[in-house]
């Protein structure tokens, strides 16, 4: 039945990508296209008192300068501005009024005949402010921490778990304990494609919008609600997304500004952000975490305390799951955890690859490593001794959990048994060598989605769903699922996505798209199959007239009798009976909550890293790494491997390089470019090895997939930090571990 699922296949969009034919949001043209260039605030808090609009409008080629002074009347309720990923609070509204609430806030849009004129005119926009004192430093405001407000988004993000046992008592009594404060810097997603929206103003006044987004329907809903437009007059198209990593989960301000300009000018407009402006919206929040772990004499992890404080904006309560992971990883009897927010004069943080997970798990896994070291146990042995078969906080068994096998296979591939346990025990000249490992975990979730399957008159299968492929391989795996479900040769199957006209799918993120949309595609193809079978039964001299659905199978573009495959009707012949029309079916898939709620569901990983540290300079190089993943069924090992490798690169980059540094004098990120905000480059990455451990799971979803977008990154930062500890004997708890921290 599965000719394609599980098989390594090259991407179906590969040729488009290597030839430059794949088109991204800023690459669509329109007659008479005007260009917008955004002007951002240079203060963090205060009021705009004057903008030299008249002067700017005199520049030849400038069409309009949009500011809060001439913004048309728009929706006035917060609800209209809420997108699918909006946290509780009052969403930011560009050009709302004269108030400046963060540094880098978009305060004007110049629209001109060419990009160059718009850019030039933007450089001449002069803004006068009345400045107020701002507060942007998390570390100075920890005392202001308070629990997050609840809202719709909190349905998907659980609050900190209730305490178990008596942490204080157990910790006090523990013969082995460790305590550490973990500080994580702000990070920005920095996809290489910058945010852009090309808004085509159609002759009938409708809008066709090419947007960079992780959910075309999300952008459509936002535009329709904010600008008071009927949904049918707003179409959002986004077939290719040049990376997003969470940044496309919310509509960014260029969409608002481009639509505003197009509607006001009744003309097509493109607004692209600059790389510097890519640092002026959501980011991974800065966090401070305090962890305390205690173990009994025999190495039983007995007490865990995990407290986290993160920043948010003054207007929304962004929060993530940081302190809930230990209950899914370790069976400690005595636990306590808190999660608080500090509102600051910054933009609202935003989900970024493995939000919360790659904050909380690395801190936990570094302390686990520290505790194992103090006890004198091998880190894997310690983890195996404290292995849990259930989620302690929910008191539910895992639907599947092959983490033990990840430890075993990963350690074997890496050669872990050759490790000398003592720190600083392996060196070559000035170079200290360290081996470290850590566990990763990410929840496997599934949402509702719709898909349409169409058998065209020439016998091709066309499947659509308004999801996104941000490089994750969605196009390819959906094609595989569709082909297998309806027994079609893969070259006769085409899957399309990224269009708000298509059947609704939720925003693409959190590693849930393979499960969510994959199931919808499967169901739509199954439903189409049923329909085709019924049609086949009605055909003249049909061999299936008295056959039940259970007795037939779909193979080689035919419906065949299971007991005698030579008894067959081709799908092309069936569609031929439909009066020259295609046959289609649109279906909705829902997670089977009743079954799923009886289990905890998660992907796991074991990560092994070797580092070389120059003893004198503190420079760190990750020389090799192995990740063993238990991620359910692997639909396409080739694209799956890419997902994990990408996550590992992110993990190395986070552990060693990434940091958006704010100067609190100005409340402004100062290294707002790719020269000074360091992400890993080719030379940083050497041998990365991926193992997919076999894991069968019939609970998570009908496909048995767990999603791979985040699990690759979660375990990596701690594995790197633990390897650095093993190399140097230094436990650095603030990320990134730049060379100055190791001098």
């Amino acid at each position: 039945m599965t000719k394609y699922i599980g098989k390594s296949m090259s991407r179906v969009d590969g040729v488009a990508k290597v030839t430059g034919k794949a088109k991204y949001a800023a690459e669509y043209s329109a007659p008479d296209l005007a260009y917008g260039y955004v002007v951002c605030s240079t203060i963090a808090k205060g009021k705009i008192t004057r903008i030299n609009t008249d002067e700017v409008l005199q520049i030849p080629g400038v069409i309009q300068l949009f500011t809060h002074e001439n913004r048309p009347r728009l929706a006035c309720f917060d609800l209209n501005y809420k997108d699918q990923d909006a946290p509780p609070g009052s969403p930011f509204r560009p050009l709302r009024d004269e108030k400046v609430v963060y540094n880098g806030q978009p305060i004007a849009l110049v629209v001109a005949e060419t990009f160059e004129i718009a850019r030039y005119a933007a450089s001449l926009v002069k803004v006068e402010y009345e400045q107020e004192d701002h507060d942007t430093a998390l570390e100075h405001n920890l005392h202001r921490g308070r629990g997050p407000k609840s809202g719709v988004a909190s349905l998907l993000k659980s609050p900190p778990p209730k305490p178990r046992g008596d942490f204080e008592k157990a910790f006090q009594a523990a013969p082995f304990k460790t305590t550490g404060q973990h500080i994580h810097s702000v990070e920005h997603h920095n996809p290489i494609e910058m945010f852009a929206s090309t808004v085509v103003y159609e002759k009938n006044g409708k809008l066709t919008i090419y947007d960079k987004t992780q959910g075309a329907p999300n952008s459509q809903m936002y535009v329709a609600q904010v600008f008071n437009l009927p949904f049918k007059d707003v179409r959002v198209i986004s077939p290719y997304v040049g990376g997003a990593f969470g940044s496309g989960l919310r509509p960014q301000y260029q969409l608002f500004l481009a639509v505003l300009a197009a509607l006001e000018l009744k003309r097509s407009v493109r607004v692209s952000l600059t790389r510097q402006q890519m640092f002026t919206f959501g980011h991974r929040p800065a966090t401070v975490q305090n962890l305390s772990l205690g173990a009994t004499a025999d190495g039983t992890l007995d007490a865990i305390r995990h407290d986290a404080i993160a920043e948010t904006s003054r207007f929304e309560d962004y929060f993530e799951i940081v302190v809930n992971w230990s209950g899914m990883l370790y069976p400690a009897e005595n636990t306590k955890s808190t999660y608080d927010l500090v509102p600051l004069d910054v933009f609202t943080p935003l989900d970024m690859r493995a939000p919360g997970g790659v904050t909380g798990v690395p801190a936990l896994e570094m302390e686990i490593d520290e505790l194992a070291h103090k006890i004198g146990m091998d880190p894997i042995e310690f983890r195996l001794k404290n292995y849990t078969e259930k989620d302690m906080d929910q008191d539910l068994p895992f639907s599947s959990k092959e983490l033990r096998e990840c430890f075993r296979q990963g350690a074997e591939r890496f050669g872990w048994s050759g490790r000398k346990p003592e720190p600083r025990s392996m060196r070559r000249g000035h170079t200290l060598i360290g081996w470290g490992m850590a566990t990763g975990i990410w929840e496997a979730s599934q949402g509702p989605a719709r898909a349409e399957a169409v058998l065209t008159v020439n016998g091709k299968l066309r499947v659509t769903s308004a999801t996104a492929d941000i490089g994750t391989g969605t196009y390819t795996i959906m094609t595989q699922i569709a082909a297998d479900t309806l027994g079609m040769p893969i070259e006769d199957v085409i899957f399309r996505l990224g269009d708000s006209d298509m059947p609704l799918a939720p925003i693409e993120g959190g590693s849930w798209t393979a499960a969510t949309v994959g199931t919808a595609v499967k169901v739509a193809c199954e439903d189409l199959g049923k329909k085709l079978f019924k049609m086949a039964q009605k055909m003249k001299n049909s061999p299936f007239a008295d056959v039940k659905q259970d007795d037939i199978t779909f193979a080689d573009a035919h419906i065949r009798l299971k007991s005698d495959p030579s008894v067959a009707v081709s799908l092309l012949d069936i569609v031929g009976t439909n009066g020259g029309r295609a046959v289609s079916e649109t279906s909705t898939s829902l997670p089977s909550m009743l079954e799923q709620r009886k289990y905890a569901r998660a992907a796991h990983s074991a990560v092994f890293v070797e580092v070389e540290v120059d003893e004198d300079f503190g420079t760190v190089r990750v020389t090799r790494a192995v990740t063993a993943v238990a991620g359910g069924r692997i639909l396409n090992p080739k694209t799956a491997r890419s997902q994990i490798v990408g996550g590992m690169v992110w993990g190395i980059s986070k552990a060693l390089e990434e940091e958006s540094v704010m100067d609190h004098q100005f409340g402004r990120f100062m290294n707002h470019n790719l020269s000074e905000y360091h992400v890993a480059v080719h030379a940083d990455i050497r041998e990365l090895d991926v193992i997919f451990v076999e894991e069968n799971d019939t609970i998570v979803n009908p496909l048995g997939v767990k999603g791979l977008g985040e699990i690759g990154i979660v375990g990596m930062p701690a594995a790197v930090a633990n390897a650095i500890f093993h190399a140097t004997g230094k436990r650095v708890r603030s990320l990134p571990i730049t060379l100055d921290k190791l001098l």
């Binding site: 090259s10 990508k17 030839t19 430059g20 450089s123 290489i192 290719y240």
Partner: protein, 174 residues
């Protein structure tokens, strides 16, 4: 209360820079464009010629997405003006595939899954063509160092290196 002002930039902005006819040779075809000097080669390709295969990732020479070949050498097209490249032979991603199909690097990128979102890909491939023309990379580490001007945020680096290595016939163990 404090007041701040953005810096003064231009005294009397009532005229625009003059446009001239610029002749550019791209992928073997001659194009005539009416452009002012302030148009970068990258914007000329993307906005005026609709050759959008060349990507804008930072516009400051910090990511490599805009890499094209000028007289066989790889450069960042965002940091040069179109007018400065009159008379040069410019090759973009659109010009790499020949009549007999894809360039070997394009095929190898597909085969090795040497991309994810695809946005840095044209720059990576053009850069790799430049790398091969230079003839300086002898080892895997050489490739890594000499490709470091092309950032892949998705993290496809190991696969990109595999693809290049295969086409260059460099022994991965060397």
């Amino acid at each position: 209360m404090r007041t701040t002002l953005s810096p003064e930039t231009d005294a009397s902005p009532t005229t625009l820079p003059e446009k001239t006819t610029i002749q550019l040779t791209i992928n073997g075809s001659v194009h005539h464009l009416e452009l002012a000097p302030w148009t970068s080669l990258l914007d000329a390709l993307r906005e005026y010629l609709h050759l959008t295969g060349t990507k804008k990732g930072c516009d400051h020479g910090q990511c490599g997405a805009c890499t094209v070949l000028v007289d066989g050498k790889r450069i960042n097209s965002c940091l040069t003006l179109a007018i400065m490249k009159e008379g040069a032979e410019i090759t973009t991603i659109e010009g790499l595939a020949g009549e007999n199909g894809l360039h070997p690097l394009q095929t190898a990128f597909i085969e090795h899954d040497a991309y994810q979102c695809g946005y840095c890909t044209p720059g990576q491939i053009c850069s790799a063509v430049g790398l091969m023309n230079e003839g300086r990379a002898k080892t895997t580490d050489d490739i890594r160092e000499l490709m470091s001007g092309n950032i892949c945020r998705c993290g496809a680096y190991p696969h990109i290196v595999d693809a290049i290595q295969e086409v260059m016939k460099i022994d991965p163990k060397a």
